[in-house]
Every structure is written in C-alpha cells, then in structure tokens.
C-alpha cells in the first residue's frame, strides 16, 4: 500500500557518472556539476550536448558528466565552443570555467563570444582564487584578501580591482541571459539550479549568449574549514558580488 503513495523525490541524475570526484572536501565545484547534470536530464538533452572543459580544478569535469566533451586550453573554452557550435548549430554546447580561466587569461574570448551573441551556455564558477595552481590571486580575488601571490592581502593600489564579469558582460547586446548566483546554502543552490536551467533553455531557443556566474568555495586555498568557507561566501563575497539577474534579454522574457 505504501508503495502506491511513494514518489521519487531525489535520485542520481543520469547525466552524472557514478563515482567520487577529485575535489577537496567542501569545494562546491561538485555541487555545480550536479546542477548541470540535473538540468541536462530534465531538458532531455544529454545525447546532443557537448561540453567544453576549462583548465583549472574543474579540468576533469568530463569525467563526471556523461556527455561528449572537449578539453580547451586555459581560457580558450569560449573560442573552442564557438567552433563546435558554428559547425553543429543544433547541438547544445556549454563551457564550464573558473575565474582565472574566464576573467584573466580568457577575458578576450569570453567578451567576444558574448559580443557575437554566440548561442552558448557558460557556467562560470567564481571562487575568487586560482585553485588548481595552489591559491594565487585571481582576477576576482577580493580587496584585502590574502593569497599566495598577495601575501599581505590584495592591495588595490598595487594589484588593481577585482573584475565583476556579470556586470561587464551584461552590457553586451549579444548577451541574452546573465545571472549571478551562489551555492552557499540550500536555498541558493535551488536558485542556482533554476538559473542554470534557464541558461540552457536560452540556447534551446537560440536566443544568444547565456552565462550563470556561481559564487563558489575553495576551503583549501582560502585556508578555512568547509563550513567557514560557506560563511565567507555569504559575508565577504556577496557584498562585492551581489546576486541577481544582470541581463534578461527581450527574447527570453517569457522563459524566466
């Protein structure tokens, strides 16, 4: 009798491969991967999706998502994705990029992909640090934040100001959907999921460039516990990187 009333409310996504990830305890890359997998399942696009992996901690995302993947050079994912999408316009092409990848070495590629209005989905994990190379200052490192290459804290007079990529890209007519979300608590994880889904739907509607910036943790290189890392996102990152929708183009007003 009980079975008749049982309903699956939580399951392992088909698009997520079984196994454990290589991520450090408390790192939120894995959560973001899962949200992408759930989205791919819900939209039924696994068999026509091609991902482009970055250089950074998430370089092995292709081991965790059960879709075709290309591994780009550092920062070049938007260019590589452009080449894929322009030759296979009916496939769903997305990049997954860290802040060093997207906002430093690959700044030209992301800006021009947005300017061209490429039909791409970009998931941008902003953890304010270079995780993979061991905690150097990133283009998104907060003022005053200590890193191995800003040992006494980022001095904006010397090291300049962190880039706000969502605000910057929202200026582009080619950008259709630009949103910033965070994964520091369950409520925000749900909101992030919704935004990621919207960013894929924008591409299904061929409505141009879509990016979700996700504020993400790096306890290892921030030198804090996993729990304190989530607090750091909430208390330190949110004030500098306010959450919200930075661009909802006319073509997608009905989607969101």
């Amino acid at each position: 009798m009980l079975n008749e009333h049982m309903q699956t409310v939580f399951d392992y996504p088909d698009a997520l491969t079984p196994g454990v990830t290589h991520y450090c305890p408390g790192c939120t890359h894995g959560i973001i991967h899962r949200l992408i997998a759930e989205t791919i399942d819900e939209l039924g696009i696994r068999e026509k999706t091609i991902g482009v992996a970055p250089v950074g901690c998430s370089v092995f995302i292709y081991n965790y998502l059960d879709t075709d993947f290309a591994e780009a050079a550092h920062g070049r994912a938007p260019a590589m994705a452009t080449g894929i999408k322009r030759t296979l316009p009916d496939r769903i092409v997305f990049t997954y990029q860290g802040d060093g990848d997207l906002a430093a070495i690959g700044t030209a590629e992301i800006i021009h992909a947005a300017a061209r209005g490429e039909n791409l989905t970009v998931i941008f994990a902003n953890n304010a640090i270079y995780g993979m190379t061991g905690g150097q200052m990133a283009p998104t490192t907060l003022p005053g934040m200590r890193t191995t290459s800003s040992p006494s804290g980022r001095d904006v007079e010397v090291q300049g100001w962190p880039l706000k990529m969502s605000e910057l890209l929202a200026q582009m007519p080619g950008a259709s959907y630009i949103a910033r979300r965070s994964v520091h608590d369950p409520g925000n994880i749900n909101k992030t999921k919704k935004a990621i889904k919207t960013a894929f739907q924008v591409q299904l509607h061929q409505a141009g460039f879509a990016m979700v910036e996700v504020l993400s943790s790096c306890p290892t290189n921030w030198n804090v516990s996993p729990k304190d890392a989530l607090t750091f996102i909430k208390e330190q990152m949110l004030p500098y990187y306010p959450l919200g929708d930075y661009k909802i183009g006319d073509a997608i007003k009905t989607l969101v």
Partner: protein
Amino acid sequence: MTKELWKGNEALAEAALRAGLEAYFGYPITPQTELLEYLAKKMLATGRAFVQAESEVAAINMVYGAASTGARVMSSSSSPGMSLMQEGLSYIAGSQVPVVLVDIMRGGPGLGNIAPSQSDYFQLTKGGGHGDYRPIVLAPASVQEAADLMYGAFDLADKYRYIVIIAADGNIGQMMEPIEMPPQRRLEKKDRGWELTGAAGRPHRLISSIYLQSEALHQFNMHLQAKHRQIEQNEVRYEEYLLDDAEYAVVAFGSAARAAHSAVRWARAKNIRAGLFRPISLYPFPHAQLTALAQRVRALLVVEMNTGQMLEDVRLAVAERVPIQFYGVTGGLVPFADDVLPEIEKLTRLDNGAS
C-alpha cells in the same frame, strides 16, 4: 581544361572550398588578407561557418573546436599571427584532430614588415609550440602548386589526424598566374569514431591532450613519433631540375627556388653543370634524397629568404660530405637569378681551391 588567371591567396581559398571546406576562422593580416576576404564572401553567402575572430589565439581555438566535430576546417595567417597560433597548434597536435592552415610568410622578427619572407621555417617545421610534435609543412613555388597542395591538404590532415600547414611566402600569396583550378568535390560524411557529435546511442567521447600519468604521456608521445616516422616514409615531396649530371646543386624552396631555377639555367648556358633540388615538403624534409645528392655533387648552395633556417636541415642531411654555401636575403628582399648565378660560380671556384 582551360587556364584562368588567379591571385595566390584567392586560389588557395577557392581550392579549399573545392576540397570541401566547411568552416573557416581567421583574423586579418597582410599579406594573407585576401584569402580571408574571399572566404567571407563565399562562405557567408552559402551559410557555411565563417567567423572573423578577435585574435589569432581565438581563431585557432575555434578551428580546434570545429575540428573536434570532424569538420573540414582551416585558418590562414601570416607570421606574427602564426606565432600567436602556436599554443592552439600544440593542443591540436596533442589531441590529434585534423586541421589545415595557410601561412603567407612575411618579414620578422617582431612586426618586421609585410614583405615576402621565408623566416617562419623554424617555427613551422620544428613544432613551434610546446611538446614533441611537428606539423606537415608544404611549400608551394607557384600559384598552381599552391592550389594543388591546398586541394590535397585536407585529405592529408584526415589521413594522419594531424596539422597540415601550407607555407607560402608573400610572393606566392600576392602574385597572379594562370592555373587550372581543381574541380569541386562532394564529400561523404561518415563517423570516424572520435569526433564530438553528442553521445547519442554511444558512449561519450573526449577530445583532450591531457595524459596525467607519466607513462601514459610517454606512450602518447611514442605514438606521435610513430606517426612522424610514417609521415617521413610516405609524404616526402620534392622536385629535381637538371640534377642527373649535376656537379653543383642549389637547394631552395618556395619563391627562392624560382630565382634558383633561372640561375641554374643560366649556369648551364655558361657550361656549369648545375641543378636544382626543391623541397616541397619542408616537414617531412627530403633528408635521404639530399644525403644521396651529396654523394653525387661536388658542392651545394642553399638559397633562402631568411638567414639560413632550412640550411640547418640541409647540413644534417649532407653531414659534411661536401661543402655547403649559403645565400640569403631578408626583410622582403627577394633573390633574383642574377644574384644567385654568381653564388653558383663561387661554388666552382671553391671546389677548384679545395682540390
């Protein structure tokens, strides 16, 4: 077949289209730009993928992406742009996707100038980017040969899942000559087992150059080396002119070989038994052929539009069997036959002095 007058850059572009070009990504740079402009007109009008990228860095990575889907894809540039493409070329070699490039070489280093040069020889033939790879490099000496090499370049890239670079100097890109344009080809597309198309009814695929374990990367490098040996065995191309009874041989490629060709003819008129050896494939270099040649002639003259880059490969092949002289001009200066003839005459004196 009737001959038509074609400009080198446009002939390259049209030959690529007729070979089934599906996608082009590039960035303007003199003296290559007509190639990009020609393709812009033709490809945008027929709905084929054409993007003027924000830089050569972006262009080569777009090429990388398109090649990962199995598309016939190319880019074109000139020397400073080729320098920027080296990162992408290294990744392309490391993930073994077929790509065709055209380099219309100009003078360097730095911004140099826009005049013809052959000074990308090292960068193109020795790998250029990081890692142990070498693209196939083909050097046309006429507009006809440029079109023919371009036409076959995609099949060659497909055959080895590798990079093919047509290395022409600015002369070849800019000059007009009457040529026979090869016919339009129809391509049949079939899945070759590696291209990214979406994992529909098959396991997912990965295009990547990562081999984290040392043993695995070593194995991959050994695989690339085996590919190089195959390429060296099958793809050596060269042309010989009056070498059968030659005592003196000039070695030159591309438009430097055109001047050398005339100089050899003039030398013959002066009863000097000279001949020309013209490498067409710069990698694979016609090493064995030059070694054999060095056993037949008394001395060699290498002529290049650089300060002696191919010269090093000639030296490796000749291994001090005979004296090698060099004549090179740079900066957009072009060797003329009446510059080369006295250099051939010098070979005969050198030889007399030695014996």
